[in-house]
């Protein structure tokens, strides 16, 4: 994980994970729905930086998040930071210490729902890959 004493800015080429904790955020064709990137009551959205983190550490953070929210962790979707910087959106570090120095927020969501939907749809279309529970478990066992 990132050194909590030296949290760097989020670089454009960093890969970020968004945890999938609702079944309707995944599509039957393996893509993700815009719902995965909807902030709903908020104007920012949590992601986790892969930088300096093992997949096991990232997966553990996702499991903890799901547990806190009484949800199931279905997987994670990866998106490049520069794909989260358009219109009003930006990505900034938001370490949750002591447990998760890799936490970051996609900030700058507008308050109008249709604008949030439009941005979330573009983010969902920019996903670079995703892992479900089975494939992540397999990869972790092979580490």
């Amino acid at each position: 994980m990132i050194d909590p004493e030296q949290i760097p800015d989020v670089a454009d080429n960093e890969s970020l994970a968004r945890f999938i904790v609702n079944s309707n955020e995944k599509r039957p064709d393996g893509k993700v729905s815009h719902k995965l990137f909807m902030p709903y009551k908020w104007v920012e959205l949590s992601v986790n930086r892969h930088r300096e983190a093992t997949l096991e550490e990232t997966w553990q953070v996702g499991s903890d998040v799901a547990k806190q929210r009484s949800k199931t962790l279905f997987g994670l979707a990866n998106i490049r930071a520069n794909k989260c910087r358009f219109e009003t959106l930006n990505v900034i570090p938001d370490p949750i210490l002591p447990g998760n120095p890799n936490h970051a927020n996609i900030t700058g969501y507008p308050t109008a729902k249709e604008d949030q939907m439009a941005l979330a749809t573009q983010l969902a279309a920019s996903i670079e890959g995703q892992l479900d529970r089975a494939s992540a478990t397999e990869r972790l066992m092979n580490c």
């Binding site: 309707n24 599509r27 064709d29 893509k31 729905s33 815009h34 719902k35 909807m38 709903y40 009551k41 929210r69 009484s70 949800k71 109008a112 729902k113 249709e114 604008d115 939907m117 439009a118 749809t121 573009q122 969902a124 279309a125 996903i127």
Partner: protein
Amino acid sequence: MSIVTSGISDAAKILEQTQRGIERRCDLAVTLSRQQALDAVWEAWQATEDGWRISADETAITSEVRDAAVRFVESLPLGFPQPAVSAEPDGHINLEWYRNPRRVISVSVGPADRLHWAALIGSESPRGSVRFIDRVPESILQYIARVFQG
């Protein structure tokens, strides 16, 4: 769909019967498809009515929102593709027409008959908010059609 006939010959009668048969089959097919969407609206509403199925930060769907979503689906033109239906954490019902990540439109039905919609057609990202008054707005119909064009 209405059929206007003026012929009185046997051929005209056969044509009319054939047309009516096609119309019945067409209605049935659309009704089945539409019924699935309507069932999904009711299921989405019922799922959030059961309080234990939603978390503390989620809002239940009201009967008002459910009824607006039902009217929206029923107002879609005959033969139009039907949406995928899901509940949203803010108590809205989401209707979505999806072809691929860059050919998609979502309509969020909220309280007071308010529709929030956004589409992604290639690099084009139209969006809007409008009150639903018993007719699906023309702009939304056009974007649904564009999702499936080409």
